[in-house]
Symmetry: C2
Subunit: 145 residues, 2 copies
DNA sequence: TAGATATGTCAATATAACTGACCCAAAACA
DNA sequence: TGTTTTGGGTCAGTTATATTGACATATCTA
Protein backbone atom coordinates (compact mmCIF):
# COMPACT_ATOMS: atom_id res chain seq x y z
CA UNK A 1 0.00 0.00 0.00
CA UNK A 2 1.26 3.42 -0.97
CA UNK A 3 1.55 5.88 1.83
CA UNK A 4 0.27 9.09 0.36
CA UNK A 5 -0.26 11.88 2.81
CA UNK A 6 -3.99 11.46 2.74
CA UNK A 7 -3.74 7.71 3.06
CA UNK A 8 -1.69 7.56 6.21
CA UNK A 9 -2.91 5.12 8.80
CA UNK A 10 -3.96 7.90 11.14
CA UNK A 11 -6.15 9.41 8.46
CA UNK A 12 -7.74 6.01 7.77
CA UNK A 13 -8.29 5.45 11.48
CA UNK A 14 -9.98 8.82 11.67
CA UNK A 15 -12.33 7.88 8.87
CA UNK A 16 -13.24 4.62 10.54
CA UNK A 17 -14.00 6.45 13.76
CA UNK A 18 -16.00 9.11 11.97
CA UNK A 19 -18.05 6.63 10.00
CA UNK A 20 -19.16 5.22 13.32
CA UNK A 21 -20.15 8.64 14.63
CA UNK A 22 -21.90 9.54 11.38
CA UNK A 23 -23.99 6.40 11.45
CA UNK A 24 -24.82 6.63 15.10
CA UNK A 25 -25.83 10.27 15.01
CA UNK A 26 -27.80 9.98 11.81
CA UNK A 27 -29.75 7.02 13.07
CA UNK A 28 -30.36 8.28 16.56
CA UNK A 29 -32.06 11.48 15.43
CA UNK A 30 -35.49 9.89 14.86
CA UNK A 31 -35.59 7.71 17.97
CA UNK A 32 -38.24 9.72 19.77
CA UNK A 33 -40.56 9.40 16.82
CA UNK A 34 -39.99 5.68 16.57
CA UNK A 35 -40.71 5.33 20.26
CA UNK A 36 -44.03 7.09 19.73
CA UNK A 37 -44.98 4.25 17.40
CA UNK A 38 -43.33 1.62 19.64
CA UNK A 39 -40.80 0.87 16.94
CA UNK A 40 -37.03 0.62 17.11
CA UNK A 41 -34.13 1.18 14.76
CA UNK A 42 -34.69 -2.21 13.14
CA UNK A 43 -38.14 -1.04 12.02
CA UNK A 44 -36.65 2.23 10.92
CA UNK A 45 -34.14 0.58 8.62
CA UNK A 46 -36.78 -1.63 7.08
CA UNK A 47 -39.26 1.21 6.51
CA UNK A 48 -36.56 3.31 4.97
CA UNK A 49 -35.42 0.65 2.53
CA UNK A 50 -39.00 -0.12 1.58
CA UNK A 51 -39.61 3.54 0.85
CA UNK A 52 -36.51 3.78 -1.32
CA UNK A 53 -37.19 0.52 -3.14
CA UNK A 54 -40.94 0.08 -3.17
CA UNK A 55 -42.15 -3.28 -4.32
CA UNK A 56 -38.95 -5.02 -3.32
CA UNK A 57 -39.28 -8.63 -2.27
CA UNK A 58 -38.58 -10.14 1.12
CA UNK A 59 -35.30 -11.55 -0.12
CA UNK A 60 -34.31 -8.21 -1.64
CA UNK A 61 -34.81 -6.69 1.77
CA UNK A 62 -32.87 -9.50 3.42
CA UNK A 63 -29.96 -8.87 1.09
CA UNK A 64 -29.93 -5.19 1.86
CA UNK A 65 -30.25 -5.57 5.60
CA UNK A 66 -28.03 -8.64 5.84
CA UNK A 67 -29.87 -10.12 8.79
CA UNK A 68 -31.58 -13.49 9.11
CA UNK A 69 -35.12 -14.01 7.91
CA UNK A 70 -36.19 -14.86 11.46
CA UNK A 71 -34.94 -11.49 12.55
CA UNK A 72 -36.54 -9.68 9.65
CA UNK A 73 -39.81 -11.47 10.19
CA UNK A 74 -40.28 -10.03 13.63
CA UNK A 75 -39.84 -6.57 12.18
CA UNK A 76 -42.17 -7.14 9.24
CA UNK A 77 -44.79 -8.69 11.50
CA UNK A 78 -44.79 -5.60 13.71
CA UNK A 79 -45.04 -3.32 10.69
CA UNK A 80 -47.90 -5.32 9.18
CA UNK A 81 -49.85 -5.44 12.44
CA UNK A 82 -49.47 -1.68 12.69
CA UNK A 83 -50.61 -1.30 9.12
CA UNK A 84 -47.43 0.50 8.12
CA UNK A 85 -46.69 -1.86 5.25
CA UNK A 86 -48.45 -4.46 3.16
CA UNK A 87 -47.24 -7.50 1.26
CA UNK A 88 -48.60 -8.47 -2.14
CA UNK A 89 -48.03 -11.66 -4.03
CA UNK A 90 -45.76 -11.17 -7.01
CA UNK A 91 -47.57 -11.28 -10.35
CA UNK A 92 -44.94 -13.26 -12.21
CA UNK A 93 -43.91 -15.49 -9.35
CA UNK A 94 -46.50 -15.73 -6.66
CA UNK A 95 -44.03 -17.09 -4.11
CA UNK A 96 -42.29 -13.78 -4.10
CA UNK A 97 -43.90 -11.22 -1.80
CA UNK A 98 -43.50 -7.61 -2.71
CA UNK A 99 -43.47 -5.07 0.06
CA UNK A 100 -45.17 -1.68 -0.08
CA UNK A 101 -45.75 1.15 2.33
CA UNK A 102 -49.34 2.06 2.93
CA UNK A 103 -50.53 5.45 4.10
CA UNK A 104 -49.58 4.99 7.70
CA UNK A 105 -46.15 3.75 6.76
CA UNK A 106 -45.61 6.64 4.44
CA UNK A 107 -46.54 9.09 7.17
CA UNK A 108 -44.17 7.38 9.59
CA UNK A 109 -41.40 7.51 7.02
CA UNK A 110 -41.96 11.21 6.45
CA UNK A 111 -41.67 11.90 10.16
CA UNK A 112 -38.48 9.88 10.40
CA UNK A 113 -37.01 11.53 7.34
CA UNK A 114 -37.84 14.99 8.59
CA UNK A 115 -35.60 14.36 11.59
CA UNK A 116 -32.77 12.81 9.66
CA UNK A 117 -32.86 15.28 6.82
CA UNK A 118 -31.86 18.17 9.07
CA UNK A 119 -28.47 16.70 9.87
CA UNK A 120 -27.57 15.85 6.29
CA UNK A 121 -28.99 19.06 4.93
CA UNK A 122 -27.00 21.15 7.35
CA UNK A 123 -23.84 19.26 6.50
CA UNK A 124 -24.32 19.85 2.78
CA UNK A 125 -25.96 23.24 2.53
CA UNK A 126 -22.73 25.22 2.37
CA UNK A 127 -20.82 22.65 0.39
CA UNK A 128 -20.30 23.15 -3.32
CA UNK A 129 -21.73 20.67 -5.79
CA UNK A 130 -18.29 19.22 -6.41
CA UNK A 131 -17.82 18.37 -2.75
CA UNK A 132 -21.13 16.59 -2.67
CA UNK A 133 -20.30 14.56 -5.76
CA UNK A 134 -16.94 13.61 -4.32
CA UNK A 135 -18.43 12.68 -0.99
CA UNK A 136 -20.94 10.48 -2.75
CA UNK A 137 -18.33 8.75 -4.86
CA UNK A 138 -16.12 7.84 -1.95
CA UNK A 139 -19.07 6.61 0.05
CA UNK A 140 -20.00 4.43 -2.91
CA UNK A 141 -16.53 3.00 -3.11
CA UNK A 142 -16.53 2.21 0.58
CA UNK A 143 -19.62 0.10 0.09
CA UNK A 144 -18.41 -1.31 -3.22
CA UNK A 145 -21.40 -0.08 -5.13
CA UNK B 1 -34.60 24.60 2.90
CA UNK B 2 -33.30 25.39 -0.55
CA UNK B 3 -33.72 22.67 -3.09
CA UNK B 4 -30.45 22.66 -4.97
CA UNK B 5 -29.99 19.80 -7.36
CA UNK B 6 -27.58 18.03 -5.08
CA UNK B 7 -29.77 18.60 -2.06
CA UNK B 8 -32.93 17.02 -3.36
CA UNK B 9 -34.68 14.70 -0.96
CA UNK B 10 -33.79 11.65 -3.00
CA UNK B 11 -30.13 12.52 -2.82
CA UNK B 12 -30.36 12.97 0.94
CA UNK B 13 -32.21 9.67 1.30
CA UNK B 14 -29.46 8.00 -0.67
CA UNK B 15 -26.86 9.39 1.67
CA UNK B 16 -28.73 8.18 4.71
CA UNK B 17 -28.99 4.71 3.22
CA UNK B 18 -25.34 4.69 2.23
CA UNK B 19 -24.13 5.83 5.61
CA UNK B 20 -25.84 2.76 7.03
CA UNK B 21 -24.11 0.47 4.54
CA UNK B 22 -20.76 2.15 5.03
CA UNK B 23 -20.93 1.69 8.78
CA UNK B 24 -22.17 -1.86 8.63
CA UNK B 25 -19.61 -3.01 6.11
CA UNK B 26 -16.71 -1.24 7.73
CA UNK B 27 -17.52 -2.69 11.11
CA UNK B 28 -18.31 -6.19 9.98
CA UNK B 29 -14.95 -6.71 8.31
CA UNK B 30 -13.07 -7.63 11.51
CA UNK B 31 -15.75 -9.86 13.06
CA UNK B 32 -13.87 -13.12 12.56
CA UNK B 33 -10.87 -11.73 14.38
CA UNK B 34 -13.00 -10.48 17.23
CA UNK B 35 -14.65 -13.87 17.52
CA UNK B 36 -11.21 -15.46 17.83
CA UNK B 37 -10.75 -13.38 20.99
CA UNK B 38 -14.38 -13.91 22.08
CA UNK B 39 -15.06 -10.22 21.66
CA UNK B 40 -17.86 -8.40 19.87
CA UNK B 41 -18.32 -5.09 18.14
CA UNK B 42 -18.77 -3.34 21.47
CA UNK B 43 -15.24 -4.36 22.43
CA UNK B 44 -14.03 -3.36 19.00
CA UNK B 45 -15.36 0.17 19.33
CA UNK B 46 -13.84 0.57 22.77
CA UNK B 47 -10.41 -0.76 21.73
CA UNK B 48 -10.40 1.47 18.72
CA UNK B 49 -11.22 4.63 20.65
CA UNK B 50 -8.66 3.79 23.28
CA UNK B 51 -6.00 3.35 20.59
CA UNK B 52 -6.87 6.69 19.01
CA UNK B 53 -7.07 8.54 22.32
CA UNK B 54 -4.71 6.77 24.66
CA UNK B 55 -4.95 7.79 28.27
CA UNK B 56 -8.54 8.92 27.94
CA UNK B 57 -10.67 8.58 31.05
CA UNK B 58 -13.69 6.39 31.55
CA UNK B 59 -15.98 9.36 31.17
CA UNK B 60 -14.18 10.49 28.00
CA UNK B 61 -14.91 7.06 26.59
CA UNK B 62 -18.51 7.21 27.76
CA UNK B 63 -18.95 10.51 25.96
CA UNK B 64 -17.55 9.13 22.75
CA UNK B 65 -19.52 5.91 22.82
CA UNK B 66 -22.70 7.43 24.22
CA UNK B 67 -23.71 4.33 26.10
CA UNK B 68 -24.40 3.91 29.80
CA UNK B 69 -21.61 3.25 32.24
CA UNK B 70 -23.19 -0.11 33.12
CA UNK B 71 -22.91 -1.09 29.50
CA UNK B 72 -19.37 0.16 29.13
CA UNK B 73 -18.32 -1.57 32.31
CA UNK B 74 -19.11 -5.00 30.97
CA UNK B 75 -16.90 -4.25 27.98
CA UNK B 76 -14.03 -2.82 30.02
CA UNK B 77 -14.22 -5.72 32.45
CA UNK B 78 -13.86 -8.21 29.57
CA UNK B 79 -10.94 -6.27 28.13
CA UNK B 80 -9.19 -6.01 31.49
CA UNK B 81 -9.63 -9.71 32.25
CA UNK B 82 -8.14 -10.50 28.86
CA UNK B 83 -5.27 -8.13 29.55
CA UNK B 84 -6.03 -6.07 26.46
CA UNK B 85 -6.19 -2.81 28.39
CA UNK B 86 -5.19 -1.42 31.73
CA UNK B 87 -6.52 1.40 33.87
CA UNK B 88 -4.29 3.76 35.79
CA UNK B 89 -5.29 6.27 38.41
CA UNK B 90 -5.01 9.82 37.15
CA UNK B 91 -2.06 11.71 38.56
CA UNK B 92 -3.86 15.00 39.13
CA UNK B 93 -7.20 13.54 40.12
CA UNK B 94 -6.98 9.99 41.34
CA UNK B 95 -10.70 9.40 40.89
CA UNK B 96 -10.22 9.60 37.16
CA UNK B 97 -9.06 6.37 35.61
CA UNK B 98 -7.04 6.64 32.45
CA UNK B 99 -7.26 3.82 29.98
CA UNK B 100 -4.34 2.40 28.04
CA UNK B 101 -3.78 -0.48 25.69
CA UNK B 102 -1.18 -2.99 26.75
CA UNK B 103 0.71 -5.24 24.40
CA UNK B 104 -2.08 -7.71 23.87
CA UNK B 105 -4.58 -4.96 23.19
CA UNK B 106 -2.26 -3.29 20.75
CA UNK B 107 -1.84 -6.55 18.88
CA UNK B 108 -5.60 -7.04 18.80
CA UNK B 109 -6.08 -3.53 17.52
CA UNK B 110 -3.55 -4.06 14.75
CA UNK B 111 -5.36 -7.18 13.61
CA UNK B 112 -8.68 -5.38 13.60
CA UNK B 113 -7.26 -2.39 11.78
CA UNK B 114 -5.61 -4.57 9.17
CA UNK B 115 -9.04 -5.85 8.16
CA UNK B 116 -10.75 -2.48 8.22
CA UNK B 117 -7.95 -0.65 6.49
CA UNK B 118 -8.38 -2.61 3.27
CA UNK B 119 -11.86 -1.31 2.64
CA UNK B 120 -11.02 2.34 3.28
CA UNK B 121 -7.72 2.14 1.47
CA UNK B 122 -9.32 0.66 -1.61
CA UNK B 123 -11.98 3.33 -1.58
CA UNK B 124 -9.40 6.10 -1.40
CA UNK B 125 -6.45 4.81 -3.38
CA UNK B 126 -7.61 6.16 -6.72
CA UNK B 127 -9.16 9.29 -5.34
CA UNK B 128 -7.32 12.59 -5.63
CA UNK B 129 -6.27 14.46 -2.53
CA UNK B 130 -9.03 16.98 -3.04
CA UNK B 131 -11.72 14.31 -2.97
CA UNK B 132 -10.38 12.95 0.26
CA UNK B 133 -10.33 16.37 1.87
CA UNK B 134 -13.87 17.04 0.75
CA UNK B 135 -15.07 13.68 1.96
CA UNK B 136 -13.51 14.33 5.32
CA UNK B 137 -15.06 17.76 5.64
CA UNK B 138 -18.56 16.61 4.92
CA UNK B 139 -18.20 13.70 7.30
CA UNK B 140 -17.07 16.15 9.94
CA UNK B 141 -20.08 18.34 9.34
CA UNK B 142 -22.43 15.39 9.59
CA UNK B 143 -21.10 14.70 13.06
CA UNK B 144 -20.89 18.38 13.97
CA UNK B 145 -17.21 18.23 14.70
C1' DT C 1 -16.64 18.98 56.90
C1' DA C 2 -20.53 18.90 53.45
C1' DG C 3 -21.45 18.33 48.98
C1' DA C 4 -20.23 17.11 44.22
C1' DT C 5 -17.86 14.16 41.04
C1' DA C 6 -15.85 9.84 38.94
C1' DT C 7 -16.35 5.35 38.99
C1' DG C 8 -18.13 0.73 39.97
C1' DT C 9 -21.78 -2.65 40.81
C1' DC C 10 -26.31 -5.40 41.53
C1' DA C 11 -30.49 -6.59 39.38
C1' DA C 12 -33.99 -6.66 36.06
C1' DT C 13 -35.47 -5.75 31.40
C1' DA C 14 -35.57 -4.58 26.28
C1' DT C 15 -34.01 -4.91 21.64
C1' DA C 16 -32.06 -6.98 17.97
C1' DA C 17 -29.65 -10.23 16.51
C1' DC C 18 -28.31 -15.39 16.16
C1' DT C 19 -28.61 -20.91 15.28
C1' DG C 20 -31.16 -24.85 14.10
C1' DA C 21 -35.06 -27.34 12.86
C1' DC C 22 -39.13 -27.60 10.36
C1' DC C 23 -43.16 -26.49 7.17
C1' DC C 24 -45.79 -25.12 2.98
C1' DA C 25 -46.77 -23.53 -1.61
C1' DA C 26 -45.26 -22.41 -6.00
C1' DA C 27 -41.95 -22.71 -9.61
C1' DA C 28 -38.50 -25.10 -12.26
C1' DC C 29 -36.76 -29.09 -14.08
C1' DA C 30 -36.05 -33.86 -15.77
C1' DT D 1 -45.86 -35.91 -14.44
C1' DG D 2 -43.29 -36.37 -10.55
C1' DT D 3 -39.33 -34.54 -8.10
C1' DT D 4 -36.42 -30.95 -6.62
C1' DT D 5 -35.53 -26.23 -5.70
C1' DT D 6 -36.83 -21.76 -4.23
C1' DG D 7 -39.22 -18.13 -1.54
C1' DG D 8 -41.12 -17.45 2.42
C1' DG D 9 -42.82 -18.34 7.28
C1' DT D 10 -42.45 -20.15 12.04
C1' DC D 11 -41.20 -22.40 16.64
C1' DA D 12 -37.85 -22.49 20.17
C1' DG D 13 -33.82 -21.31 22.48
C1' DT D 14 -29.74 -18.34 22.94
C1' DT D 15 -26.46 -14.41 22.68
C1' DA D 16 -24.87 -9.57 22.46
C1' DT D 17 -25.62 -5.15 23.62
C1' DA D 18 -28.05 -1.91 25.43
C1' DT D 19 -31.39 0.09 28.94
C1' DT D 20 -33.38 1.84 33.86
C1' DG D 21 -32.91 2.36 38.64
C1' DA D 22 -30.76 1.97 42.94
C1' DC D 23 -26.87 2.14 45.66
C1' DA D 24 -21.69 2.13 47.20
C1' DT D 25 -17.12 4.17 47.56
C1' DA D 26 -13.34 7.07 47.09
C1' DT D 27 -11.69 11.51 46.12
C1' DC D 28 -11.90 16.27 45.15
C1' DT D 29 -13.70 21.03 46.07
C1' DA D 30 -15.79 24.84 48.41
Amino acid sequence: MKDLLYLKDDQIKDFIEQIFYAYRETYSDPKKILKKYSFGTAHHRAIQLIERHEGLTVSDLLNKLKITKQSLNRVLRDLIINKAILLKKGEVDSRRRQIFLNEKGRKLFEEIFFEQKKRIYNALKNADADSVVKFKNILKKIINE
